[in-house]
Amino acid sequence: MRFNSIIYLTREGLKSIWNNWIMSLASTIVLVCCLFLTGSVILLSMSVNKTIGAIESKNTVTIHLNSSVSSEESEKIGKRIKEIPNIASCEFYSKEQAIQKYSQALGDLMEGLKGDDNPLPDAFHISMTDLSKYNETIRMLSELEGVESIGDRRDVAKRLTEINNIIHYVEIGVILIFALVALFIVSNTVRLTMYGRRLEISIMKSVGATNLFIRIPFIVEGVTIGLFSSFVAIALLKLLSNVILKVLQRLVPFTSIVFDGINLNMTLFFLLAGISSGFIGGVISIRKYLRKEGGKIIAL
């Protein structure tokens, strides 16, 4: 293929996007939606994965005391906690400290709840020496008098893992479905262009155009739409990530959710997804036209 031809064919492909702008726009919108939804599911799954990891690697456990427990009694409980084997550290965390932290994040909302109206319990933050004895240690802690509940993050991690498994299936399903939708949309757009150009295609064949030559404008069209759509989808995902990150920052004291937003690998994946759906869509839609000759193409 000569350089002249490549410039000419690329221009032809871009022209047909313009001439066919309604279909091009429609398929761009559908593609963007497909890529955006796929991306959202992937982001969600990545975030859940990381959160599980973060929770699992954390060996601190919060022990909430009964709210009727006085401060002297709490001290005693603290001592008893330290006596339990496998406890590496034990730190008292008063309800005043707790309400202080909440009001830092939420401001005036918490003002009325300070002092005697404070509904939060006193607590201990403990850490363990050996995580393999986790369950046994938790059991001993929960048997102590005055202990109301134990913030057992392992439970959360377990539930998250279950959710994550479901998300994985959804992820695969979503990617498959949207890949099909994307291919269908792109190939139909290109097919429409092709239909509008069937006279040209038949003439091209009769004057000796190679199949590659006939194909290129349609592939350019598909790839351009795909590439453009992936840019838009990446921008939208970036926007979504930023919003989520902002919200999470405000919630930092209450959550251990880890969210990294869209990264380079994902961006590349999206560009590739856009380009390949455009390419494959362009290729499959023209096969029918390339197999026929002359008047039969026009009659299609």
Partner: protein, 228 residues
Amino acid sequence: MIEFKKVSKEYSNGICAVKNINLNIQKGEFVFILGPSGAGKSTLLKLITREESPTSGDLIVNNMDVFFLKNRQIPYFRRTMGIVFQDFRLINKMTVFDNVAFAMRVTGASERAIRSRVPYVLSLVDLADKERFRPTELSGGEQQRVGLARALVNNPDLVIADEPTGNVDPSLSFEIVELLSKINHQGTTILMVTHEHDLVARFNKRIVEIQEGRIVSDVYEAKLANEA
């Protein structure tokens, strides 16, 4: 240049459009293929252009047996011939210039080559002043001359015309054949299909008459005129 040896063509629907044809066309000849509608004239041409392939027999075009032509060789094979259609097959949204240039672009010709060759070919068919026109702004005869220019632009050895005068005013048909004749005088082999007896009778050319897929006569105009 073209040699049919016992060539038959049966379409997939069972219709046998060409039956056991033997025909030899030398380089530089001008041949009319004459016959009524449905006689198999277009099929004969489609076998030459490899739009269809023979069911049996041998067909040699430009020293190549079309039977052995691979799919990827077909485009290059077609570049050795120019094809003119009854319905012109011009692209209405392109100018006359671009319609002709189109056939050159397909072969990967440079813009420079196109800019020098296209005006020359348009002047051959007497359309030098209509370069910027669109097909819809031209008469039928002029449109067909654009089609002819497109067929000639790659300097083919063979021009194949399937009823080029079928959609043209009878008074202008003569002019088209004259043009083909002029091109033939420069050495290009011409194969023209028509069912207009009156038209072929006005030229002194070889006439191959086909009926129901068979050649019923292969003569020169002079002889045909004698019989009449």
